[in-house]
Subunit: 323 residues, 2 copies
DNA sequence: GTGAAAGCGCTAACAT
DNA sequence: ATGTTAGCGCTTTCAC
């Protein structure tokens, strides 16, 4: 691979001039610029980013720390981040924390020692996370799962929860089960609170149960039979429940209605298709990335951004008009 | 962030000695090692990987070029690669090519200028790809979508195709539709060939049609009604078709049986759950990564590895025993 | 066993 | 407008 020195020799100027030409910094005569461009093309020169980032103490790489990329929601977030990054000349390195504090800090360390410009995370479980990060001196934006101290971008989960509940009540449900996720995550917590508050206002009876996606099996059926509506904290769980219910002869939405959360791609393809809350995962990723880059450029950004969500009515609830 | 120089001063030795201690290269007295370890701990020193990779001309980062991480299959592959990499002290930077030649080469270039140790790809559409890569002097392993010139790891798609066809015929199908994917990808090509050959041997009638996942809508129903079995080139398509069929009153598996390919997570949760070919996506990723790292360590590896696949019988076909 | 010094490829003073 | 040079943090000869 050709280096800047090769280009300098080939075009008969110094490396400083080449550097100036490449970076459009400082003066460089039109004629010499032409010579340099020719040399670059002839030698197929590309600046070595490692050397650049060693000097600058910042690379053009953004870290992205996700709980688990196997979840289609985060996969879309990642695409959003990547596309936004690419547009501005950055690249991303992805890490899965698996909700594991040790992996988390290992990744943050990795980002640091690789001179990442900053990172986006949606999973900080570390205590004193923001303290730790600011010590590291890295730019940081929090996504979807928020704490109160960092820059944050998230969907309006409280509203999402309210929408789930409201829709089901409007479609006639009177005996609901709210299936909620791990409450230590702000996103799940707010969804639950939204649903709970709305249900309270409607004065509709409901039970609530925490359910991890790997805990779903036939043993649930006895409970499920009691309800005429299910509010699920994400689509993955909703789809599993949908399968389970049908396998045991329950008709959806006639016997029981189901609403999910996320609007992952598959949710519109199942039968019945899933009524759900659409969160703009891709857009969330883009925005978080744009925010981070703004931060890197010392632009002022909002400390907190809330992104709107809306309900998409499909076949798993009784609403007339489907999309 | 503390540098090697800080550690050297703190422990009263030279940077060279610290470097030797950190890397376990060359001699360093037990006592001085102790002092250095203490200094490292006190200063919370971590070697700057950028500086290392500038010197070594190789970073501890592996590039991973995927067609689209939104596809759950590739998502699992990525997890496999990541986990394997992590175990050996590497990290990954992921790029989505979106089947786009330009993005492809941009990413490969990115890998190069960031001193990536090597990369894994499952999507090279560039002409002369292997030529181009070997010019770059990067280690490279091809995954799932193979050409003949690189090191390659892939599942046995021909067998997978045969299994799909054989199963459907055994379950009584006599009029099949093979829904196949873009034949320029070896993986889809081999699946189709396997199914076609098996069907030929059984002397069973079939039609074949190429179908992208965004081309699926009601207009297909007139065609679909003619068949008693559907062989799909992946689960995503199979699930969409499953939904479509049911929405139009076809009973699966009574009227028509469906078999998918990939065994993504969701396939066991739909109703009816999907009979499919299990490809070990995670393991594929791990193996590809292990191969690449072996390559980097100048170990001898097989030029081509074929990984076994098997059929998982579920509710979308008539087999008695489900998993 | 340890240290001095060169150099990986680049950028940014500073001098000219 | 261009060149010289120091230095980013590290590893590795090569002396001692």
């Amino acid at each position: 691979m050709a280096t800047i020195k090769d280009v300098a020799e080939y075009s008969g100027v110094s490396v400083a001039t080449v550097s100036r030409a490449v970076n459009n910094s400082g003066y460089v005569h039109e004629d010499t610029r032409k010579k340099i461009d020719a040399a670059i093309k002839a030698l197929n020169y590309r600046p070595n980013e490692t050397a650049r980032s060693l000097y600058n103490k910042k690379s053009k790489i953004i870290g992205l720390l996700l709980p688990d990329i196997s979840n289609p929601f985060f996969t879309l977030v990642a695409r959003g981040v990547e596309d936004a990054a690419l547009q501005r000349g950055y690249h991303i390195i992805i890490g899965n924390s698996d909700q594991n504090v040790e992996k988390e800090s290992r990744y943050i360390e990795t980002f640091k020692v690789n001179n990442c410009a900053g990172f986006i995370s949606s999973t900080l479980q570390m205590i004193d996370a923001s303290q730790y990060i600011s010590n590291l001196g890295m730019a940081h934006v929090t996504l979807d799962r928020t704490d109160d101290t960092s820059f944050a971008v998230e969907a309006d989960h409280y509203k999402g929860g309210r929408l789930q509940a409201t829709h089901l009540v409007e479609q006639g449900c009177r005996r609901l089960l709210v299936v909620y996720g791990n409450q230590k995550f702000s996103s799940f917590k707010k969804r639950f609170e939204g649903a709970r508050d709305a249900l309270g206002e409607f004065d509709v009876e409901f039970d609530a149960v925490e359910l991890a996606s790997d805990e779903i099996d036939e043993s649930l059926m006895t409970q499920l039979a009691d309800y005429d509506g299910l509010i699920c904290y994400n689509d993955l769980v909703a789809i599993q429940l949908l399968g389970l219910l049908q396998r045991y002869g329950q008709r959806v939405p006639d016997d029981i209605q189901v609403v999910g959360y996320d609007d992952i791609l598959i949710s519109s393809h199942t039968y019945p298709s899933l009524t759900t809350i659409h969160q703009p995962a891709y857009r969330l990723g883009r925005i978080a990335c744009d925010q981070l880059i703004a931060l890197l450029n010392d632009e002022k950004i909002d400390r907190y951004m809330s992104i709107d969500v809306h309900l998409i009515a499909r076949e798993s609830t009784r609403s007339e008009k489907h999309e």
